[in-house]
């Protein structure tokens, strides 16, 4: 059976170069804090990796802190910024309704602590409007946290504009760029970003490592207190092999990025076109700007999990809503934020491609999905009703 991995927004396979960098350092096991040679060798790799990741973001090495992943970076950035802004008497935060749970649940915990949060509308097309941001800002606003690109529907936010607005108002701007780093050209300086979260496993790097960029001049307290690692800002013995693999993966991802993106977005568009030929299907989120690999569609009368598992039986790995919440019975908060009714949101499918995918993959998916949809609709009382109503009209 052909196997197609089309769940790259959930996590990616490590690239060969990333694996190699990991393996090259698996025996470079010294503790970078140690003074001996084993320690220095580890410290050198750590420094070098940090420099390379920093360069890829357009920041200085000393503005980049390795963490355990995107969730930690988000928690650190937002909880840290909240504590800092409270010291200045500010308690209002602006975000969007379709952030990742690492941001949303963090904001909820802050709301319990007396912060107020405005969740900007993302409309039917999944884009934040900068005018809405401007309107939402008050004298009490200390932090804006808006994701770079949405993990479910792939829409890309106007980050540079948001950055400019925040910088002008002196408001800290954090962006959860977990889905964007390695997929979109980023320059934190030009884009006026103060805090940026990334996670290596989303760009063919290893799991369990991420980073937080903290602009020089922005001071936030630690989430992880302890040893003097990461210049005293993030305790924990460093994962050298993973840091090296992260740098390798990111460099590789950014090499010929435009070319890769053109190829992948052509695949994406072919997939979207094919899927939208199925009756009563719709694309979730606007088409441009959109992550080059993201396809998110809803099929009426079909439930997402049954669709997913049917695809899985055909060797296709996909997701419905986001992977994290797919165990639950609620349709994805992202799709609801777009204003989709529950019954339609239940029928969502996310196929997320990467540059490892081929045209054959797309053709295979397109050859398989229609019959699955047919089969599921054939046994669906919801579909029966839809058809019956159609007949009446």
């Amino acid at each position: 059976m052909k196997l197609v991995y089309a769940d790259n927004a959930a996590t990616t396979e490590m690239s060969e170069r990333a694996k190699q960098a990991f393996l090259d350092n698996i025996d470079n096991y010294g503790n970078p804090s140690s003074l001996h040679n084993m320690g220095s060798k580890a410290a050198q790799v750590l420094d070098n990796s940090r420099e390379r990741v920093a360069k890829a973001l357009g920041c200085e090495s000393r503005e980049l802190y390795f963490t355990s992943g995107g969730s930690e970076s988000d928690n650190w950035a937002i909880k840290g910024a909240a504590i800092s802004m409270r010291k200045k008497g500010k308690t209002h935060i602006i975000s969007t309704a379709f952030e990742h749970h690492a941001v949303l649940h963090t904001l909820e915990s802050l709301e319990k602590q007396g912060f107020s949060v405005t969740y900007l509308n993302v409309y039917e097309d999944g884009y934040v409007r900068t005018e809405d941001l401007k309107t939402a800002i008050t004298d009490n606003t200390g932090l804006v946290t808006i994701m770079y690109a949405n993990n479910e529907i792939g829409t890309v936010m106007p980050i540079a504009e948001i950055g400019a607005i925040c910088r002008e108002k002196g408001i800290i701007f954090h962006t959860d760029a977990v889905q964007a780093v390695g997929h979109i050209e980023i320059d934190v300086k030009k884009q006026n970003i103060d805090l940026l979260s990334l996670s290596a496993h989303k760009f063919h790097g290893p799991k369990g490592i991420g980073a937080l960029y903290i602009r020089k001049g922005i001071v936030i307290p630690n989430l992880m207190d302890g040893g003097a690692q990461e210049r005293g800002k993030r305790a924990g013995t460093e994962n050298i092999a993973a840091a090296a693999a992260t740098a390798a993966a990111l460099e590789e991802a950014l090499t010929d990025l435009e070319k890769k993106n053109n190829r992948v977005s052509a695949l994406r568009d072919k997939l979207i076109d094919g899927l939208l030929k199925i009756e009563r299907s719709r694309l979730n989120g606007g088409i441009s700007p959109r992550l080059s690999g993201n396809v998110s569609v809803c099929f009426e009368g079909v439930e997402g999990e049954a669709l997913l598992l049917s695809l899985d039986l055909k060797g296709i790995s996909a997701s419905s809503g986001s992977a994290c919440t797919s165990g639950s019975l609620e349709p994805s908060h992202v799709l609801l934020a777009l204003g989709l009714p529950h019954e339609i949101a239940h029928g969502s499918l996310r196929l997320s491609l990467c540059d490892f995918n081929t045209e054959e993959d797309v053709d295979y998916i397109l050859s398989v999905i229609p019959e699955i949809i047919d089969r599921l609709r054939d046994m669906s009382p919801v579909w029966e009703t839809i058809k019956a109503n159609e007949g009446k009209r």
Binding site: L309, H346, S380
Partner: protein
């Protein structure tokens, strides 16, 4: 969340899928807002369920529980069928993930709703206790 082989078998090859145009009883439970609707059709002859079909909109376990529940009542008397419990459905499927137990409740309800409909059509006044039969039953009521 991993499904048992039984669940996967009934999801891949659901038994008794379809409709019965001249059904003696039809029960529909769940709602689209919650992500699952089950519709069960029965033919009854001398108190025996001679045929049963279902249509289900929902996740893999909703389909699998519908399939196995219809198997479990086929050829049974109505009284036997009314003894079907969601627990028996879960056991017959070699277990369900906790988040999916509500599907087995729906299956029990759908069967009971079909039988209730049969009695109603027959003009027989019989009280049938449906765990959560009304249409507005909230999505999460079965999770607890």
């Amino acid at each position: 969340m991993a499904y048992s082989d039984m669940v996967m078998d009934h999801f891949k090859n659901p038994r008794n899928v379809g409709k019965i145009d001249d059904a003696d009883g039809v029960g529909e439970v769940g709602n689209a807002r919650c992500g699952d609707i089950m519709k069960v059709y029965i033919k009854v002859n001398e108190n025996i369920i001679t045929d049963v079909k279902f249509n289900t909109y929902g996740c893999a376990s909703a389909i699998a529980t519908s399939s196995i529940a219809t198997e479990m009542i086929k050829g049974k008397t109505l009284d036997e069928a009314l003894k079907l419990t969601n627990k028996a459905v879960v056991e017959a499927l070699d277990g369900l993930p906790p988040a999916k137990v509500h599907c087995s409740v729906l299956a029990e309800e759908a069967v009971k709703a079909a039988i209730a409909d049969y009695y109603k059509n027959m003009g027989i006044d019989k009280k049938i206790d449906i765990p959560c039969g009304d249409e507005h039953c909230c999505c999460h009521r079965h999770d607890k």
